[in-house]
Each structure stands twice: as structure tokens, then as C-alpha cells.
Symmetry: C2
Subunit: 400 residues, 2 copies
Amino acid sequence: MIAPVEGGVTAPAGFRAAGVHCGIKKAKLDLALIVPDRAASAAGVFTTNTVQAAPVVVSKDHLARAGGLASAIVVNSGCANACTGPAGLAAARAMAAETARRLGCPAEQVLVASTGVIGVQLDVAKVAAGVGDAAGRLSRNGHDEAALAIMTTDPWPKACAVTVDSSGARFVVGGMAKGSGMIEPNMATMLAFLTTDARVPPPLLARALGEAVADTFNAITVDGECSTNDTVFALAGGASGVEIGEAGYADLVAGLRAVSRELAIGIVRGGEGATKLVTVRVIGAAAAADARQAARTIANSLLVKTAIHGGDPNWGRLVAAAGRAGVAFRPERAAVRVGGIELFRDGAPHDDRAPAAAAHLAGAEIDIEIDLGTGAQHQATVWTCDLSADYVHINADYRT
Amino acid sequence: MIAPVEGGVTAPAGFRAAGVHCGIKKAKLDLALIVPDRAASAAGVFTTNTVQAAPVVVSKDHLARAGGLASAIVVNSGCANACTGPAGLAAARAMAAETARRLGCPAEQVLVASTGVIGVQLDVAKVAAGVGDAAGRLSRNGHDEAALAIMTTDPWPKACAVTVDSSGARFVVGGMAKGSGMIEPNMATMLAFLTTDARVPPPLLARALGEAVADTFNAITVDGECSTNDTVFALAGGASGVEIGEAGYADLVAGLRAVSRELAIGIVRGGEGATKLVTVRVIGAAAAADARQAARTIANSLLVKTAIHGGDPNWGRLVAAAGRAGVAFRPERAAVRVGGIELFRDGAPHDDRAPAAAAHLAGAEIDIEIDLGTGAQHQATVWTCDLSADYVHINADYRT
């Protein structure tokens, strides 16, 4: 049983957080700390981009060297520390070392993440001052400021938490995330940090995080871009006393998934220029990978995203996008539903239903369903947003 | 030796054309005929979309049944005849049959193409009247009206021709095309029609057309979409008396490629909302397919296209797009050049050169070059356009 509760990364027992202004950004909060009371099991999922930012390289190394234990996550916004060469790697290591020094833990037990301008060196002196400031302000109430401190062009902070009842015991999962869009140039970076007071061996936590991320953070798209900095960390501190083995594993995945799903959908809602949350569900696929591929192709189609922005129940664009996804698709047995209204089935349009579908598209939550008509029953869901002229303005009007 | 000459599909000897208004569109020309003086060798390249419009299905069938001979190409705009089921197939066959009846040739020697609204039945009576009208107006001067009659939201007609000197003999290649964008809903369809007065056996023409299309029409992208109707036809009539065998083959490919390249670049220039022509050249790739994949990923990146629209020399977005292309890429040996100005090399930015690159981006013809740094020398070029708010308006503001 999963139930939402107030709070974010400090909702689970045994975690403190802080968000401070260290001067990377002009005036806004730009440095966050998340600290478990004692070394926690830790796991990470990272960008698949060949170009990996320095904090990604350092965090992977630290996770391996510390055997999946972490005593802190330190995050800055305003500077991605990506494409910064050896100096950038040294800066990411210094960021971890300074955090370790302040908290009295080994440097390899510190995980780092950055988001912001690419190709600019991180100001280590500012970060060090910020870490000192944040370490002095750590508290159970610090999660709000931490969630604010990791934002770039996000229109609002994203945090949530749930309780999970597992075989008579209860543990809590919390999280915070920042999404797509930077006021400075460059790519949309996604960062998310999950915490739980369950006690989980590191290998099991890594497996559970991978499962939870697959159909949440890896099932959203704003513009099809994959950043150099994308990172999801999970910490399991154990303060609840609830031990997760193979027995409670499914409950742990469910808790991580519930928080990840809410944060992921929050990222899409807050996508650059987004006015609508679009759920693309593909059914009737010959394989699970086909379903994901088709859903992602539809969700990234500019013609689909602009049609939805314009409120146009344009099933032709949906059929054409599915047709170019490179998966098994039988148009003569396919169906397209917009807000549950069937506009196309078995090769024939039902354009008389277009006004009802247009009424659905006028809302802020759009449901698209495509049956690929293969006869098999594999399915996938991807969340995306519409494409507005504001997206273009946000991403074009900045000049370096 | 290849030299440009005036004209389009009727520039080669032995071809006539016409463009007329048959009433599918309210007032504009909407039906074109291209007719060789006698049955010509014919070849086609078609959309790879799983959803294939009725004219695509019928034309493939006719090419096969007529053994690569064609006596006419008939094209309508304003209605794509796609997703129209058995009735649509019958309409496409009727369009061919009526053309054959007027011209006195077998129906399977007529190739058909359509572009326009999807999911709407083609009005066969209007098409038949238009075919009769066009057949009566066929002339060497009809190429201009033919090029106008195949347009949808294209800002201008696209036609060109070249002479090819081949071992002391001369033949001509001409062509016309329509590009991306429909005033009615739906996808961007690309149609192109090439003609030559060289004499070419059908199998050789098919091979040459495939080669010419690969690095021209298949190397452009406006928005990454692939329509249900995309078609390129080539007709070789033989009126020049120049016989192409294995000997003149390279010259034939060169001629087809020259015309295809000019038409393809014209399509990009006329892309919906486009204000800049962008040439993306990828070098230093480990394989030719890697080079094409990286160039296409960069050319379709919304963050790259909006940065170029905004005149921002944002090498970070270029590096990140290359990094997610799924090909071999060594950032520490890579280079990014904008208008020949090196902004990033061997892992280090040269941001002092950004103003010079910004000056280049202020122009209408943008050159982007990325060296993937693998040490191998494979390369590819893709042409695209910038992404403007007008693209969104064109594709969002229409309501069904």
C-alpha cells in the first residue's frame, strides 16, 4: 500500500538537507546538500550520452570505490561542469573533497551533480563556501530550499514523498528533481534524488532503482535531447529499521516508482514552453521494445506536438509517426484514440468524432492511445508535452 | 562536365508537361502531367513509412508490372489519398486509368503521386476532368505550371536542369520537386520528378536513381518526419540518342545527383518557417553510417535548430547532440566549427571566437562541421533549416 505524504528528500527518517546561495547564480539558490545520518546504501543511473560531464564521471568512480555507500549528495546549479576537460574533473573532485571535509567522511562517499551552463569552469572557491554554509544549515526542514537550489529554468520546484506498507512494516520514500530547460544556453538536464529510510543492500538498491527509472524518468521526453549531466541517485539510510531483501523488493520498487513517476511527470509539466501534459500509450505492439519505440517516436514528433498544441485532433500525424517508428504496425488493424474517442480504426477515419476529440485537446491533460494492430498485447506509456512557440523563444532568444 | 541550363522536367528533349486547376484546391493549380514522347525507362524511390499512401502502392505495382517502363506521371496536390483504404486504392487506379485512356497507353505505364490532406478521399471526377484538360495542354513550356501544380505550402516552385557531357556526347537532366509543409493538416510530403533524354535500361536507371537520392533527397531534413507519400520518380526517354551503359553510368549518376541536390536544398530553404539553410558536415567518423547518423541527429536536434535560429554559436548543444547519436565519438579529440571558426577542439572551448561565429550565424547560409575525433576519415553531409516560432504557428494554428 502506497500513500502520498508531505515533504521531499527529508520525509524518510534519518535525512537532512539544505539549499543555499553560493554565487554561481546571481541571486538565486544554487547549491544543495542531502545528508543521511550515517553512511547510506547508494545507487545511480546516469546519462547514456557519450559526452559525460565531470560530476557524472566522478560520481560513477565514487560509487564503485565506496562499494555503494554514500554519506552525502552535493549539487550545484548554474554551471554544468561539462566539456571542461581535466580542470573540470579536478573541480568536481574538489567539490566532493570539500563536502567530505566538512562532514567528516571519506571523499569517495560523496556523490556530486551539476546543472547549468556547459563549457564553463566551476568556481571551486564559491562551491567550497557554499558547502560550508549548507553543512551548517542541514535540517529536516531543508528539503524545500534544497529543491529550489537545484532548479535552472524549471517553473517550480518538484518534490514528493510516499509511505510504503510492506508486510506490516512501513517505510518512506522521498525525492526531488529538476527538469528541462536552462536559462543559460545548452541542453535540458534532468537531475533526481531519491531517499528512503528502508535498509537495502547496495546491489538490491541499484536493481530497484533501475527498474523504477525505466518506466518513469526514462519514459518522459520534452524534446528528445539527452544531456551530458542527467543523473538519478537513490540513498537508502535504514533509519526505519525495515529490512528489504528479496521479500520486500517489490514494495521497494513500487515506492521508488511512485515517487519517480510523480517527479517525472512534474518535469514534463514544467517542460520549456509546455502548456499540456500528454500521455502517449501504445498498445497492441509485437514486443515491449516496439511499444516503447513507437511511443517515443510519437512523443517526439514535432508534427504531433504542434498539432496537440494547436488543439487539432490530427490522427493522420499520429498514424504517420507510428508508421516511421520502424516497428511492426498494421494500419489496417490499427486504432487511434484521443481522450478515449476513436478517430481511426481498421484503416477507416471517423472524422465525425473530431469535435469531441478537439474538446479533449482543449484541456491541459491529453491522452493519446495508439493500437499498433499486430494482435500481440505489448504496451508502453511515454509522457511528453506539447511544442509551443515559447519553446522556440526560450531556446533561440538567448545569445551567448 | 555538368552545367546548369534553364528549365525543368521538359529541358531534356522528348518531354512535355502541363499543370492545371481541377478543383481539389479552391483556386490554385492542383494537377500536373509529365509525358515522354514514347514510353520511357522509369524508376522510383518511395517513403520507408509503414503507412504507404494509395498512389505509392499503385505506382510500385505499375513499375513492376510494366517492367520499368512509363508513358506518364500524373500528380495531384490538395489531397494525399493516404489512409483512405480500398476506396483510396481504387481512386489511385482510376487516376492512372483515366490518364492512360487520354494518352492511349497501358494503365500500368502511368505512375501516380499525391500530396495534401490525409484521410480524405480523392475526388476522381475532378481528377478525370483535370487529366483531360492537362492532356490537351501538354507542351515543352508546360514545366512551370507543372511545378506550380504540385506545390502545397511551398513558398516557391522548385525546378532545375543541367547538361551532362559524357565522352563527347551530351544529354540533359531536368527535374521539379515540392517540399515540406501543407496548408491543410498533416505531414510534410516530398515529391520529386526527374527526367533525362539519355537512353538508359530500366535496371541501370533504378540503380543510378538510388545512388543520387542517397546523398541528396535522403540527406535533407526539415523536422525529421517521413511522410506516407514521399516519392521520387525518374524517367529516361532516350531522345538525345546518348546510350548509357556501364560506361556512361557515372555521368548519369552525376547528372541526376546535381539536379536532385539543387531540388533537395531548395526544399530545405523552403521548409516551414525556415529562415536559414544549415549544412551539417560530420567528419572523422569511424564508418559512413556513423557519419550519417551523427549528422542526422545534429540536424534534427531542436536545441541545435533553435540555437541557430537565435544566432547563438552554442557548440555545447552540437557536442551533446553528437554524443547522443549512438556512434563512436571521442570528445577529447573532437572539434566543432561554425562557419569555419573552431569553437571547440580536443576537449577545450575557444569562447573568444564566439563573436566571429555569431556573425556567421547572422547570415542565411550556415555551415556546421563536427569532427568526431575517431581518427578514421568517414564523413557525411546533411542539410536542414533552423526551427522558428513560425514552424510552430504553421503546424499548430490550423484547426480541423
